[in-house]
Symmetry: C2
Subunit: 191 residues, 2 copies
Amino acid sequence: MELLKERIRKEGKILPGNIVKVDGFLNHRIDVPLMEQIAQEFRRVFAGKDITLVLTAEASGIALATICAQAFGVPMVFAKKAKSDNIEGGLYQSDILSYTYKKKVTLLVSKEWLSASDKVLIIDDFMARGEAMRGLCDIVREAGAELVGIGVAVEKGFQHGGDRLREAGIPLHSLAIIESADENGFVFREE
Amino acid sequence: MELLKERIRKEGKILPGNIVKVDGFLNHRIDVPLMEQIAQEFRRVFAGKDITLVLTAEASGIALATICAQAFGVPMVFAKKAKSDNIEGGLYQSDILSYTYKKKVTLLVSKEWLSASDKVLIIDDFMARGEAMRGLCDIVREAGAELVGIGVAVEKGFQHGGDRLREAGIPLHSLAIIESADENGFVFREE
């Protein structure tokens, strides 16, 4: 998606340790009209799939997933991280290693809000090693629901989380795949 | 807001310890059209205020804040909890006690995305003791920005966090204030 790549080129920053920072429009300050354009792109990609639910993981995926759910006219469910008192009983869960926080976290979804009859589109703002995504796929499988596809705004291609999912036959569509990010700027994977 | 109160009466649950659960439409599974109606209500309440930014705290406030930012035509910024590698330097911060997680957490907002020229509307899905809200108000004050108002979907009136903010002269508007929640059901504060 050229518009998104342009924003990354223009406003993205590269921090030591290959950390790509796009927090001015995607995951700290949210540019809502950009989210709407991303959602329209996912609508085009996943057209005719009878999606019943958009699923993401807290926290930074929630904004984009909300706008995508709005575009598809379906509810959005976000997996919670770790246990809070506000979730009772029946839970789907998957342990993942958080790259951001350098520790194990458990993704949780209440069985009340995801069932075997759901056709699920997973949405996330960002994918690096794909741990959160693997956890969300686990949860969809646990529920016996159908995984229709995965839509990611920005994928760090050089960390290969997305490639592993594609090799496993999962329909993953990323709108901007960063192949390298260094002092020379961003290089995107050719489509 | 009668529509929201009806949903709470119909679908809300009361767990031991006065925990009010509205996770079927507000803070785990998100009913996007309901968020749109809540956003329109806040537009009515805060009309003509020249709001430049909607601010919330991760995680469960993000969905509603995103739809409110869309309705006001402004960006949304969410305060992060605790430090991640993805935020560098210059931060506004405030320590709060999380009721949900029973521990101290630090709310963080990058100085890049909130400035003294901003007119800020704080939005949250839920308020109990108002700790997260106090932290967000601190951050707006630290930035020297103008706090135009606070919009909360569901306030637990019996925990008095909202009353303390109102006494301090802060324009807080909650769409459903629960005065009591027990085996007899929900009682809302009269408007």
